[in-house]
Every structure is written in structure tokens, then in C-alpha cells.
Amino acid sequence: MSELPLLRPFFEDKPELLAEILGRYPEYGRRSALMPLLWEVQRAERHVSEARLEEIAAIVGVTATEAKGVMSFYGTYHEHPVGRYHLQVCRTLSCALAGADELYAHLCERTGLVNGETDAEGRFSIQGVECLGSCGTAPVLQVNDAYFERVTRSRLDALLEAMRRDELPEPSRERGGDTVGAEKAERDRRGCRMTTVADRPKPITSRFDPRFEVTLYKHVGVEGAHTLEAYRAHGGYEAARKALTSMTPTEVVDEVKASGLRGRGGAGFPTGLKWSFMPPVDGRQRFIVCNADESEPGSFKDRYLLEDDPHQVIEGMMIAGYAISATIGVLYVRGEYYHAYERLRAAIDEARAAGVLGVGVLGSGFDFDLILHRGAGAYICGEETALMNSFEGLRANPRLKPPFPAQAGVYGRPTTINNVESFASAVHIVAKGAAWYAGMGTDDSKGTKLYQLSGAAQRPGVYEMPMGATFRELIFDLGGGPSEPAKAFIPGGSSTPMLPWTEANLDLPMDYGSMAKAGTMLGTGGVIVIPESKCMVDAMYNVVRFYAHESCGKCTPCREGVATWLPKMYQKLLAGLGTREDLTLMEEMVRNLRGTAFCPLADACAMPVAASFLHFRHEYEHLVDTGAPKYPTRSRWAE
């Protein structure tokens, strides 16, 4: 007979670990330790039981109810034990286009498990999850914290076999686009251009302009580039040194303003202007926050920056921190990016040891340090105020604005928040000057930008191009063209309205103004190619399902419309039970979702749906009239 184990408090014999975690946050921010403590318990016990939850709640000084409210908000904390190998298959659009649904069905069949189930031995548990940020290397399987990319059925079988023998192979980190160092160099050398442009206009708007140089991703994909030594070897932290020792904070802000850099998180707000919104220094602690919660389907640029060139991001944060007089940086990285998290943690440790972070950094009089905080699976944390709530150990509902973060951000103190790529760009703006940066791009969109290509493309991946480069250049010249006949593409992540696959649309420059004129948005620059063979209704259901899963539930239209009703309507249509009236109803529902919700998430769901009705209503009509989709709802699946 086995004995019921005596439950000792988890942290009872781990005082150092506890002190380290609590020590990461300022005294007034004790509650921030809630998420990392949950992570510790879950790592050890593969779930967080109610007893552990109560223990953690007491440690951070909240009620168990509050702690439960926070824990249950996130997708990756488990109330019940998951298997030793928790197998998570991303099923969002880019992965679905690459056959993730079929892969998932295969996984269910091979393990004999259904979604959310753990086998009797406690070896396997499986879960279909939403976008893991591996759209360019789809489909992706996440085993515990490790990514296995471009997983075919046969690779999955091999993996399962290995795990049955309790041998977890090294994660297969597949690469594409600019993340493949050698290929990139080769491509650059050859200038493998399929399209032509007559004269080279000024400024630079093409990757193939000889004056263009891959900058942000220069070292991404290069073996060993993530170390401080490697980063310094090619001039790392010199931009920060320049800013900290020879420029005033105002000069840094002005330089970034002059560069024309617009926020790379999707909204495109001018970065320098945002920095200038900070109130005068008044003795309160100020924060610079890096939004590394990249989760918009079709976006995966930040992940490689964080994994392969973490110091570039740290340097950018340091420069921004100096510019706004913030001595603490918060790096909020999404929970699924565990590899990036580990790289960042190592980079921060290295930087601290080398005096690059800490008191009087880089020999200047400026103190700067970072708090690295790991999310736990909630897309809404990409919304800046939701991220702040999450960081503070609260449920990640977006906050009411005003007050804006500059007035009351992290812990109610003046805060500026930017995207990973924006910080990386700032490094080069300071190093090479605003004029260099503004020499690339179009009127309202300057500089170099990381574009992402996924879906039905020959060579999906991240490609760095100057602003104003065309879709054709991305999809054909760099991406090798569509992998099969295409009918549409999503220009900037799944929330941006799709454009039909026309010659004119392919020639559109990818900048903020041109996209607005075309009735869509640049977003994060995550281009997803939708093949002719894919049922558009099913593709949109996939998109809607994502937003339904990620709705925080705070406001009515999003909770009831996005998270409940709209996906049910799609299910009805796809089951062949829809009517023409249902289409009218859906269009009306989408109108009711536009501009009525508390935060942009409902819009993010409604806009692409509206666009699909605008361009592909005939597919919806075919489906409701005949009861069968015009195109298969399942992807082609190549072994």
C-alpha cells in the first residue's frame, strides 16, 4: 500500500529560491512574484494544486481567491497534473495552413488521447493551443517548454517513440528566411531577384538596393551571436555608450523622433513622440517596458531577436531608459518563448557580471537594470496596459485609459512601453544617426523593418527589408513565391484585413500609409499567404477561434460576441447548417463589434472577418447554399 504523502509547503526548503524570486521585484511590487512562483511550482509538479496556490497567495500577500483569479486567467498554468511530456500543437492559421489540424488528429490517434487529457501512466498529455509564434516554421509541436518545428507526421512518430523510451531529443529549431545565416548571406550575394524595378528611387525602398544592409537581423541565425562576447565583438553596446556618455536624454529622444521610427508592435505610433510624453522627472521610479509578448498570429520576428541577439534588445532598452530617465527596465516575454527567456536570463546575468547592467552602466553615471518577467499564455498581454496588469500579478485585463502609461503605468508610475523591434531599431538609430534611418522607407514610414512570411509560401520566414518594399518583393523575391496558387494574403498579422491576390495588391508598398489607403493595416508586418485550395470560411473560423480563445472576458461585445457567438456561427456554417440570413446576422454582428469594445481585441477579430465577407462572400454563400464548402477545409498534408 502506498502512503498518502505528507504535503510540506513547497517553498519551505527553498528559502534562497524564494528570496531570489521576491528580490526580482521592488518592495511595493511583491505581488509581481505571483506568476514566477506559480511557474516554479508547475515546473516541479506539472500543475499547481489548490494547496500550493494558497501557499503562494500567502507569500505574496493576496487572498487565495485573487491568486486563483490570476492563475486561471492564463492558458499555461494547469490545475490538474499534465503528463511528463505535455504535447501542445499550435493550431492557428499559419500552422493550420501547414497541416497542423491533421498533425493534431494524428497525435490524438497515436496517443489515444483527446484534448486536455493525460494518459494513465502520466507520460503524455495533449493540448491544442493557439499561436506559438513559429508561423514561419509551421507546424510546431511544443513539448513542455521546448519547440519542435516543421513537424511532419513521421517526425512526430519518431518523437513519440523517443519519449516512450523517456528520451526527449534536442529541440529541432528549424529556421527560415533571415534566420538562416548562411542562406541569407548567399541570397544577399546573389541578389536573387525575380521582379524588376527600373530606377532606384531615393530613399531606399527595396532590399535589393545595394545601399541596403540587413541591420536588425544581421547576427540572427549566427551561431553564438547571443553571447555578450560576440555582441561586443561587432560593436555591441557602443550605441548605448555613445548615448549615455555624449548625449543628453532629450538629444536621444530628438534623434529617435528625427529618425521617423514608428512603433513596431503593430499600431505604428511614433516612438520618439511616445518617449517625449513622459512627465518631468519628479523623484518617482520610472519604468521602460519591453513588450516581448509577441502573439499575433503571423508574427514571429521578435522571437528570433530575443533568442539570437538578446543583447541588442537589452541595449535598446538601456538607450530608451536613458532617454526617459527610467532606471528599471521590465522585459515581459511571453510564456511560450522559454528558449528566448533562458537566453535573455543568461544575457542579463552576463551583462550584470560585466557591469553592462547595474550601477553606473558602461562607465556612465546612469544606473540601469532589468526585470525579466515571463508571461503564461495570454495574447491580451500584448495590449500594453494588460501587460502591466499581468506584470503586477493581476488578471491581465486592459486598463482604462487615461491615465496613459506615461502618467501611471507599471505600479502606477511613469512608464514607457515599446515593442522588441522598436528597441532594436533605436540601437542603430543612435549608432548611425537619424538621417541614415530616415534614408530608408517612404514618406510616413521610415527605416528598416522585419517582415514575416508564412502560410503558402515557398520559403517562409522573417525577412528584413526597408519600409516601402512591396509584397511582391517579400513573397516572390525573398519568399520564392507561393507554394501553390494563392487567392489572398493577410498583410500584417491575422487582425489586419486581408487583401485579394491581385497584381496591383502585390505591388503595394508595405508601409503604414499605403496599407491605410488600401483599407488595411501594416500591423506587425506578418504576411500570411492563403492558398486557393483553402476554404476561406474555415480559414476565418481559425482566426476567429484564436480571438475567441484570447478574449479576456472583461467587456460584453468581446466576451459574448467574439468569444461565444461568432465562433458558434462559424461552426454552424461549417457544419453545413448555415443560411443566407446567418450571413446577414454575422455581418451585423461584426458591425456591432467594431469600435464598441473596451480594447482593440474585438476589432482585431471583427476586421478580418469583415474583409473576408467583402472579398470572399461568394465562398460563404456557396457554403450555405450547398451545405458544403467550395474548397476543402482540411489542408494538404505532405509527409
Partner: protein, 815 residues
Amino acid sequence: MRVVVDGVALDLAPGTSAIDAVFAAGSDVPYFCSQEYMSPIGACRMCLAKVGAPRKERDGSWVLDEATGEPKIFWFPNLMATCTTAVMDGMVIDTRSEQVAAAQNGMIEFTLINHPLDCPTCDKGGACELQDRAYEYGTGHSRFVFDKRHQEKHHALSEVITLDRERCIHCKRCVRYFEEVPGDEVLDFIERGGHTYIGTLEDGLPSNFTGNITDICPVGALLDATSRFRGRNWEYAHTATTSLDDASGSAIVVDARTGRVERIKAGHHPQVNKTWIDDGTRFGHEYSDAPDRVKRPLVRRGADLVEVSWSEAMAVVRARLEGVAGKDVGIALRADATLEEGVAARALADHFGSGRLDHAPRPAGGVIAPHGGATLEELATADAILVVGDATEEVPIVDLRIKDALKGVTPPPLFAHGAPIADLRLKERMPRRTGILTVAAPYRVDLMRFAGRTATYPAAGEAALFRALTELAEDADATPDEAALGMPLAAARAAVAGLAAGKGAVVVLGGWVLADAAATAAAYGFCRAVGAKPMPLGPMANSHGLEAIGVVPSHARYGYAGMLGGETRALVLSNLDPAVDAVVAERLKGLDLLVVHTAFRTATADLAHVVLPAATGYEKDGTVVNLEGRVLPVRAAPIDNGEATDLTGVVKALGEALGTRLEGRSVRSARRWLRKSVGVDLDALPQGGAMLPHKRSAPPRTTVASTAAAPTGVGGLRVATMVRAEVLDRNPHLLATTGGLKLRLHPEDAVRAGVHAGDVVTVAVDRVRRRLVVQVTEDVPKGLATVPATPDEPVGPAHVDLERVAVERRALQVA
């Protein structure tokens, strides 16, 4: 600021929310998440309206509309949630356009898709915000053809609150309420998105103010379990009155149906309780329908009490009074008697020419501050507060108003439509100014969780505490005894300095202070020294009023204690129960006449010659004066209480029996007397009450107050409880919630006494044997035991005989 709403121009203060502008203009938008006195969050998206504003040129002039020459209105691209939008000068709000109507309709449709629409069986039906708004703004039919969300429909959040998760529309009022009002975060959203539901891991919602969520829930999700399925809203008679549960004077609404109180809801009194009441006040109504309720007069026939008519009862009184000298008649009433009852008691005493008149409990130090006390509003806006006592249990509303002060937001201005629907100054998770609050008590009290400084001084050490504080107030370098202060000297210095410097500082004097005349005097001395206003917490609903109109003995010896000490031959007792004390019971048996006016068959009633049925606080008309000195109306709800009456009815009957027409024989008559003698016209009392004119001189017949029982040295304390101890057994829901009256002990004392947590024991408290449930807690210091006070066993030091504890029932012990 000039704002135009649907063509109506208004002039509003900056910071006003657009939704209040809409209501101020007489227009309407629906809303579910906004709630008076709580932060606006913009979650339900019902209050959307089209909003526009003019813009200024760089030179400061308005951008003009070329066609009209008027400032051009730039409309916001999206409809705005008016609850989270502040008005701007020149703002234009449109609530009536088609676009707005379509959006409102769309939001109602969204809100209803997962709502079960089980209105026919829902307690909220007929008084439901969702129902009303769906009728006003919905289309009346649903296009949602799918299964609705199925969730638990009868989830007991606690003994007194039932949650129907299907009905919840996620407005977050309840969740916000707990964080913002009592500060007890015991309820939260669990999960996210379409799976979100409210729940708790804190068993039974540990908070003293849980019931308010049943008032503010806009649907039938959170329901008062004491009244669940007891009636429909349109069947209830709603009587707006004042709670007699404690000295706060909280506004309540008594909902009665077919002659029975079914539930109590909070009323609205902006200066007193806002819209909040404590759970004792809300759920403690079931006693009014207790099985041992006395509904007809009873007279003693041998060993039995038998029901008789009023005239028969009066005949017994008359007969037994023969030969009893008027001065040997004593009259005592409980301190929650109305002013009118007080007048009646006075009239009766005057008739007998007896000075033996008193109300109980009556603290030795009195309950009226000699130079005027603080109002609740002053407390809620104070910049420094010292509490000596357990305000949360004594007068729970004081606890909430202190928490208002911690937010540092002044009370909002009122609109014609009431308190602001969205006060934009209030935020979720506002920082609290805990540094302004110092709480001192002989043991750890709940309010200490919110206090920047806490002190635990020795029991019965209030006088010493105030003397030590006064020393510090007079000389910051003084070094009074830290033990007397119960906190480090530095903390005490900071507290005193804060009170001396703070704007409108308030010192709250709890029952232990008032029970000791010397401590009370020292407390008032300290208040003078730091320039703070005192706020004495009287023990009962009309302690202030009865003291003010002089329902007190003509001599200290003639007080209630004296009456029971064997100096009277006839006694009239209203709602008091002194016979719990065996010694007193023996004495009562020797009286020529014992008239007991009571609602229940108490121990004292069982000794009476005549028992007269008393009306409860829900059943009488009258007036009370709350702890601030605010005169407030008490109104009778239509309740079937047989022939029960308040004391004016008793005096009327007695007068008739004695052949005289006494003043105070009716509410009208009592008010006539009050107008003549005190100069207060209660018939002219405005809706929200009015302050009693403060008299600098002592009221007429207050001469010498009785002194409190001297501390016995053994650490026992009778303490106030939020739920009234004397009727707890007759309030089944509250009994289940609280688990019974508690004997609270330190773990070491529990070991010494041989008792465990949960044991039901009988223990002698002074001369009274009390049946209590043991609670073992380190909140009370070693050597101190606390027991609940009752009107006859008032707050103050007592001897708790831990040497001889009889265990009636052992709690289950886990090895």
C-alpha cells in the same frame, strides 16, 4: 463646463462623467457595470453614445464650422462609453441617433445571449436592471440559436448568499465592490473570456459586508439566501426606514410580504451609510418571526403565563400596584428604543414621581461628546484617524467610512438623479492612505489590517492609553510608558503628530472607552490637546437620543443597576432581559410587580407578572438619533405581530388603567412633548434626517452616570459583535454563518482551560453563565478572553471564569 446633451445645454463641473451629464440632462443610457460610489470601468459597453467636441486652433481660438460660424464639432470616430468619458468644455453628446440605438440594441443582444431569461422563477424579476433595460433597449427577440452557457445555478457562496452563475452578466460590480468598499478581496473572476465566472476560495466569503453585493447585482445572479423564493418583488411592501441594529442610523428598506419581514436591503443615505449596510443589519431580521415571539399580553396564573387581553393585563397591573409607592417604581428600556418611547417612559416615571428611570446599556462616560462630535462625513474625509476600540463590530458603517477616508476622495456632489453614476475620481485598486489610520485595541481587531499603525494595549487600559497619548500631545519629547501605549513610542509620536497636523482629525471612541468614565474624560482631554473631533460609538441605535432627552435616573443609585439591586418594588422593563443573571433573577421574584415589555419569551419574561408584546425595530414608527446626533425616521413595515406595540402603546394602556392621559401615549403625543420641551419638531423632519441641536449644557436629568464595573484584574472583556448577540439564536442564517457566539482565547489559555476550537462550552462571565463556542486565536493576547456583549451584559471588562469551563459538546479533534 458647457455640455450639450441631446440639445439640452448644461453647465457641469470639470471631471463630471458623460453618463452623469446624460442623466443630468434628463436623457437616458442603459448601464450595468457602473455603480454609485464605485469606480467606473467601462465593461458592459451599454452606455455608448455619440460624443463630439470642438477643437482649438494653435492660438487658442475654437475651430469654427464654416457654414454656421459656431465652433465645429469633431465627433469621436467610435461611440464612447459615457461612464468612462469625462466631459470637456463644449462637448456634445447624442444618445438618440440611430447609430446609438443600433449599438445599444447590439449590446443588449450580446448581453442576453448567455443569460437564461428565467425571469419567471428569478427573485430579481420585477426589480431587475437587465430586465428593465432589455425591455427599453432590446428588440424583444433573440437571434442566438445555440445552447446557452450552462453553469451552476445554486452555488452557495456563503450561508447567506446564493450565486446563479448562468444569470451573471460579468458587470464586475461584486468583484470590484469587495476590493473597493470593505477591502476584502474574497471574490474574483476565475478563468477568462467566455468561460469567465465569479468564484471564491475563501470559504463563506469572510467579510462583514457581503450582503451588499445582492443589492448591486444588476441581475438575479447574487441573491439574499434568507429571502430566496420567498416572494416576488411586486408583492413586497418596501418600507424605507432606519436600522436599529447599531448606532450608525443606516438607511434600510424593509421588504415585507403577508405580514412577515422577508429581507432587508440597504437604503441610500449619502451622509451616513451611502448604499452599504453590514451583514448583521441585513441578515439579522429573522428574529422578528421567531417561534417564541410574544404577540399577546400574558399574565401570571400560578406557575404559568397565560394569554389575556390588554385590559385584563392592565387590571393585573393596577391591582399589583396598589400599595406600591410611586417612588418605588422603576422603568428601564433598551437603548434602541425610539425617542418617542423615551418620552413615554419619562411620562410614566413622572406620573409615579419616580426618579428610577433609565435606558440600558448606558455607558458610564455617556455617548455625547461634550463639545460636539465628528460626523460620519467628517470621518470619511479626515486626514488623520485614531480608533480606540473595535469599530468594525461596534458600528460597522464607521469601518467603511474610515476606508473611504483611506482613499482620500471627498464625497461626491449629488445630482438630481442622486450620487454620480460614474465618479471618475474612483479607480480600481486605488492606493490607500493607510498612514493616516492608527487603530488601538486590547487585542487584534479587523480594522488593523488597514491601519498604518496599530497598538495593543492592556485590557481596561483605555484611560492610561489616553493619558499617555495626551502626554505626547503636550510634549513630543515625553516618554510615557510604552506598555500603556501598546505600541512603540516612535509610532505613538507619529500618530499623535499626525492627529495634531491632520485636517479634520477624528478620534473614534469605542465601547471600552465609554464604559469607563475616567477613560472617556481622558479621551476628550486628548482630543482637545490635538485638536481632533471625537466620535463616541454609542452601544445602540438610540443611545445618543435617549441620553439627549434625559431618559436617565435622577440619581446614580436610581439607575438600571440600582433598580435590579433590590431597591424597587415594581419594575417596568422594555426589551431588557436581566434575569440571565441568577442573582438578579432571585431579586426579581420578590417584586410586587414585574411588567416585561418584550418581543420574546426571555428568562425575565418567565418571571414576570405581566408580559406585554413588544414591536421589533421593523414594526414601530418613531425617531432615533444616531451616533453623530442625526435625527432619523423609523417607520413601521406592515408586519403581523399580533397585538404587539412599542412603549408608547404600553404607556397608553397603563395610563388608561391608571385613569390618566400620559404624554407619550402615542407617537403624536410624544412628539408634541418633544416640540414643547426639547424644541425639536419631528413632524418636520426632512427625508434624510437632521442634526439634533447640540446642547452645550448637560441635558436636564442627566446628573451622575453610574460607574462601570471596576476591572476585576482577570482578563475578560465583553465585546461588541456585528451580529446582535441577544438575538443570534433567533437568526438561523446568521447563526449558521457565524457558527454561534464566540469565547475567544489565546491558544495557551485554551490549553490551560482544557478546551479546543469549536467546543461548545458554558462559562461564567461575572454572574452570568454563557453558552459559547470556543475560538482559539493568537489575535487575543495571552490571559485575555473575550465574550460577546448583550444589552444586559454591556461592553467592558468582565470576569471570565476559565477555571470552571463546562464543555457541553466537544468539537471533532483531528490528531
